[in-house]
């Protein structure tokens, strides 16, 4: 199995809790003989690199240097994420089984790759715009929410970290409950459950 993980933060770039969590997933996958590529952002440490733990990282930077906010910044970064993912895909003779996208930032790239190359994806939820912005509903917040919705709608499965988050995802986005897997970090069968979820999604789409 070969998985590509999308995350806007990955060590050494640590913004919040997500970076170290994603690294833990990636390292565990590599240890369990799952080929793991991480596509992430860094302003200048760009390119493909094999980390000591066996994870292959592919860092991209934003081709558009000037932005008016995080939203436009993310939206022009997505094409670079697509470019990196496509390079990985074509270099391994198209043998990619799934993508795991963490939070809303790179959902446009995951959706495009699904539509173009039949690569299924998992949407892993760390946090939601509703809670980050305390229910704000300006066009800026609503745009981010619409990308969260798009990711959840197109994802094969969602992974959330608590039952509370499962209920919030259901309440806010009406995602069918059977599509949502609750896998709390540090729980007893955490990695086993992640791996099982990956396997249930891998190769789940039509011929390619």
């Amino acid at each position: 199995m070969h998985v590509i993980i999308f995350s806007w933060e990955y060590p050494p770039r640590v913004v919040g809790q997500l970076a170290n969590y994603v690294k833990e997933v990636a390292v565990q996958l590599a240890k369990n003989n799952v080929k793991t590529s991480v596509v992430t952002y860094h302003d200048f440490l760009t390119g493909q690199y094999e980390e000591p733990e066996g994870v292959i990282t592919y860092r991209v930077t934003n081709p558009v240097r000037t932005h008016i906010g995080v939203l436009t910044w993310v939206l022009t970064l997505n094409q670079e994420v697509e470019r990196a993912a496509a390079n990985i895909y074509y270099n391994v003779n198209k043998q990619i089984d799934l993508i795991d996208v963490h939070d809303w930032h790179f959902t446009p790239a995951a959706v495009t790759l699904k539509k173009a190359l039949n690569l299924p994806f998992i949407f892993s939820v760390e946090s939601l715009e509703e809670h980050r912005s305390h229910g704000a509903n300006s066009p800026f917040n609503m745009a981010i929410k619409s990308l969260e919705w798009l990711g959840m709608y197109e994802a094969a499965k969602l992974v959330v970290k608590s039952e509370w988050m499962r209920d919030e995802v259901y309440r806010l986005y009406k995602v069918p409950l059977e599509k949502i897997k609750v896998i709390p970090p540090k729980s007893a069968n955490w990695f086993k459950n992640i791996l099982e979820t990956y396997k249930s999604v891998a190769g789940g789409m039509a011929s390619r």
Partner: protein
Amino acid sequence: MSKELTVMMLTWEFPPRIIGGISPHVYYLSRNLAKNGVKVYVVTCDFPGAPQHEVVDGVEVFRVDSYKNPSPDFATWVYLMNVNMQKEAAALVNSLGGKVDIFHAHDWLVANAGIGLKHVFRKPLLTTIHSTEIGRRNGIHFDYERMIHETEAWLTYEAWRVICCSDYMVSHVKWAFGLPTDKLVMIPNGVDAEVYARIEKEDLSSFRSKFALPEEKIVLFVGRLVYEKGVHVLINTVPKVLEKVNAKFIIVGNGYMKEQLSNIVKNMGLAHKVHFTGFVDDETLRKLQKCADVSVVPSLFEPFGIVALEAMAAKSPVVVSDTGGLSEIVEHEVTGVKVYANNPESLTWGITKVLLDENFAKRMKENAYKKVQEKYNWNKIAQQTKATYETILNEYSRSFWA
């Protein structure tokens, strides 16, 4: 490369959605490419009442939901629209078994979708740059403008070739984005002379009488009533022209300068000589262009100048500012008259010369019409564009992506 050359055009406007010049450009280019044996898929924004999928003159048109995501401002709307456009275009290419040879993106408004599709399918991207942010704003002053400017630069960087519609735009784009000369291709914009030829057979005297008295010559301006179009320079010439010839000035279009200009005309006591029509439908516009004794394009900034070409196709003599694309379209005292930009005396001279010397005017419009058919003919433009596609695909076939 499949047997039949297949192109996917990305554009934010296509008829019936018409915002500026890209919509008619892509319409005429794609149908003439189809006539020349190119399979064209157009992916564009939706429009009320227009179908999601239709075949127009052999061109497959797909319209995508472009108001799906709430947006705080225009640029963010553009980027979000690209998310949906790219998603739908990706699904379409996938359903065609990947059989698209080239992606052709028109302006930064579809940059993200074009660039994403290029990498995901590993097919060449071509772009036509119709206008630039640095040109529209006469410089880059804010982060918002710089973001758009850099998005344009990114698009030209990712493109295999960059098409511009005039030599002026080629040098402007080369300067603005620091592109190598061999990446740029000049293929002019075109005009459909047939739509005017059809009107030729009609008797336009009753139509004309709605706008001018029989003894009045018609001076026509068509364009947005904004500073860069120089309409205020034309208004300045009204009393000077009227000293020498009896004329009616017809100003077609809307813009923020409209009220100010009509007040100036009233204060000069010349309201009966200047008629502001506002926005008119295509039919009325073409008839007015046919009736015009002179068509004036007094722009201060003009990347191409399509209205001058339309006037030439309508066999109306033209007087234009010697600037931007207009300088190339018109050959002075051969296919029209060129005057100094932003100079009412010079413009008055040009207008009165055409109106008073009938033989001269006749010679200008006949030469101009010939030029339109030779150079600004959509069939020829489509053939040049097809040749560019073939050059790119030939180079691509030797790359490791092929």
